[in-house]
Amino acid sequence: MPLDDLSDLGDEVLLARYAQGDRMAARALVLRLSPRVLGYAARLLGDRAEAEDVAQEAMMRLWRIAPDWRSGEAQVTTWLYRVVTNLVTDRQRARRRRATNGLDEAPEVPDGSPGVVARLIEADRMAALDAALVQLPDRQRQAVVLRHIEGLSNPEIASVMEIGVEAVESLTARGKRALAALLSGQKAALGYEDEGAEA
């Protein structure tokens, strides 16, 4: 069966075929899911190489659980987002433990000073956004990325982050405000017209 013919099949069906030894299903799953997993990990970590490690590990966990996957309990993508979220959280905790400068946890709302954002913002809008995202507190960043970039619904995010829907809404709202603060003053570099100049 050509690979294109597998495009209509759901993730769970492909995973079941993978567990039965279907190598085309393995290829289809890699091509379908890897970009999403990698993209999400990269947004959370701000480091492509590290994101590849996390994405590869998350996919490995999917391969291992495939024979025991219980259909209908969770979406494959939601499960993967949860695995990536947990892997990233573990890495970030380890990174902080290794830090020797004794920095505290990131502030709940950043002070808006551009810092590294200012340098990157002139080069690329997406790089600027990513640089701002990594300055958000972890949970806010996860919620904002899942909601506004990955396009998940609030109940799906609640399942991924293992919190309530109201907590998701709160994290998303605070995350967006913090993100806007980080990017404030950079409208020209981002390509937006300066409202003050127009007046």
Binding site: Y18, Q56, M59, R64, K176, A180
Partner: protein
């Protein structure tokens, strides 16, 4: 930055497709193959289509084909009995006819399938 500006930027990011490097995809695929369960001997699931075309045809012939063959046999047997008038059937049919009416001649009874000539002459 207004929320509208931020929403536009986030929408732009959402539309930006992540392009994994080929070597990354190769590593993930290698992992997938290495971790993939091997089908048991004689298990015909290895093909992505589930059932192969040959198996599908075999099932069709064995199922629907068998039923069709039985129907054809019965039809041919009926035609044969009607036209050939086997002698072995003449006696039992005559006895049944005799039971319903002694005046019925044996020659009338064995006309299991009426001749088409009569129908054509009428029409």
């Amino acid at each position: 930055m207004t929320m509208q500006d931020l929403d536009a930027l986030l929408s732009e990011a959402r539309a930006t497709e992540t392009r994994p490097a080929p070597d990354f995809l190769a590593r993930v695929l290698d992992d997938a193959y290495a971790a993939q369960p091997v089908p048991a001997a004689g298990d015909a699931v290895a093909r992505p289509g589930g059932r192969s075309l040959l198996a599908l045809l075999a099932g069709w012939v064995g199922g629907f084909g068998g039923a069709a063959a039985g129907l054809a046999t019965a039809t041919l047997a009926g035609i044969w009995l009607g036209f050939a008038q086997p002698a072995a059937l003449s006696a039992p049919v005559a006895s049944v006819s005799a039971a319903f009416g002694a005046e019925t001649a044996v020659d009338d009874v064995v006309e299991l399938i009426p001749s088409l000539d009569g129908w054509l002459a009428e029409g």
